[in-house]
């Protein structure tokens, strides 16, 4: 695990680009309601993105009766093996943060898997509120975002 997915809520302007990127990236017909990252508005142009923490001791993986939730050693993300999922929804009830999402369209559980090491939401975030940074930089205190006219790399 050489990179960490970092959320800097101070920079989020609640534009919803990450939700759209997520919904498109995961075959949910681009409906933002099917996103795995959720922005909660806390004021005009201020948001708090909430996304799976990929917990170290994850309740979802512990409760899954079919071992459908397995950590990817490379990315550190807990990934859902859809073919092993039996749709019992125990993980949805077990996640203390509400980040396991039941998809009524496909009748299976959706969760953030960091897109296998290339999180699609990150390049769409215009203010770098979402970053995928080298692990040794993850604890650095975030600076307020200064607009330079460039979009995220």
């Amino acid at each position: 695990m050489d990179r960490i997915y970092r959320v800097v809520i101070e920079r989020c302007i609640a534009c919803g680009k990450c939700e759209l990127a997520c919904a498109f990236a995961h075959g949910s017909e681009g409906r933002p309601s099917k996103t795995r990252i959720n922005i909660f508005k806390r004021g005009p142009e201020l948001g708090t993105p909430v996304v799976c923490f990929q917990c170290h001791d994850a309740a979802c993986a512990a409760v899954c009766p079919t071992e459908a939730l397995v950590r990817n050693g490379r990315t550190g993300a807990i990934e859902m093996a859809r073919d092993r999922c039996i749709s019992c929804r125990m993980c949805v009830a077990a996640c203390p943060f509400g980040n396991m999402l039941w998809d009524e369209t496909y009748h299976c559980v959706q969760k953030c898997d960091l897109c296998g090491g290339d999180p699609k939401c990150v390049p769409f975030c215009p203010t770098h509120a979402l970053e995928y940074v080298p692990a040794d930089r993850a604890a650095e205190k975030p600076e307020p975002f200064a607009w330079t006219g460039d979009l995220a790399p």
Binding site: P65, D83, S87, A93
Partner: protein, 257 residues
């Protein structure tokens, strides 16, 4: 690693691999109806029949269900012989007689060149193909509320004594996994009904949305050791709480804009 030969093609697989997985890793397709990656192999549908033989068997071969048969070193496997095809066709023919109106069975039959059953169709058609996925998934969750009852043509999936199953927690895993969607249920924010049992729903203390049944919450807390108050909030309200928590943390750190 061991080596088996599937339709003339050699493939190396780890010892203990099921023959079905070994055949698929060699790139050949074997139809299945009762197999599921998360559940124990069951050998119920008999669709995955293949012929196996060995060099020293002088042409003699035997038919095995590949989902239950371990791959052995030096095994020669034939997945598409006339004997395999005709035996599989009999299995599908019987299934089509049992479930003449089921789209899944009709599709499988059509794929094997059967339009209509050659047997007398079931006078009381059912959609249940007796694949046992529902009973196995129920066992796997640790509930075992339903099982197959009776034998032969009268075999069916049912709760004990055809009464509302006392052990059922109303999780709907059986209905979700059913390949023909033939397990009826009703669910709303007020109550859920399946297998003739009615369940009270746990409604989110904040938004009122129902997310689990009362029995499911009891089962989950027994399984994981969390108190049943753990299920007071739905996932959406838990996320909202989390977002508020983040804001509090950043305010505490003096970084909130």
């Amino acid at each position: 690693m061991i080596t088996i030969t599937v339709n003339g093609k050699n493939v190396k697989v780890p010892e203990g691999t099921r023959l079905l997985d070994a055949i698929r890793s060699a790139g050949f397709e074997v139809p299945t109806l009762c197999d599921h990656p998360a559940l124990e192999p069951w050998g119920g549908c008999r669709m995955c029949l293949v012929d196996v033989t060995r060099k020293e068997w002088d042409g003699w071969c035997k038919m095995v269900v590949s989902c239950m048969f371990p791959a052995e070193d030096g095994l020669l496997v034939l997945t598409d012989t006339e004997r395999v095809r005709s035996t599989r066709r009999v299995v599908i023919d019987l299934l089509l007689a049992r479930c003449p109106d089921t789209p899944l069975v009709q599709q499988v039959a059509a794929r094997h060149g059967l339009e209509q059953t050659t047997y007398e169709p079931n006078p009381a058609p059912t959609d249940c193909i007796l694949c046992g996925l529902c009973t196995r998934v129920c066992d796997h969750i640790g509930v075992s509320a339903i099982s197959s009852v009776n034998r032969g043509a009268g075999r069916e999936i049912a709760p004990p004594l055809h009464e509302a199953p006392p052990d059922c927690i109303g999780c709907l895993a059986c209905a979700e996994i059913c390949p023909t969607s033939c397990i009826p249920y009703e669910t709303s924010d007020a109550k859920r009904t399946i297998w003739g049992k009615e369940f009270e729903m746990v409604r989110c203390a904040r938004c009122g949305r129902a997310h689990v049944t009362r029995d499911e919450a009891a089962h989950f807390s027994g399984r994981t050791g969390v108190p049943s108050t753990y299920f007071d909030l739905c996932d959406a309200c838990k996320r909202t709480d989390m977002a508020r928590q983040f804001v509090k943390l950043s305010e505490g750190a003096g970084t909130a804009p």
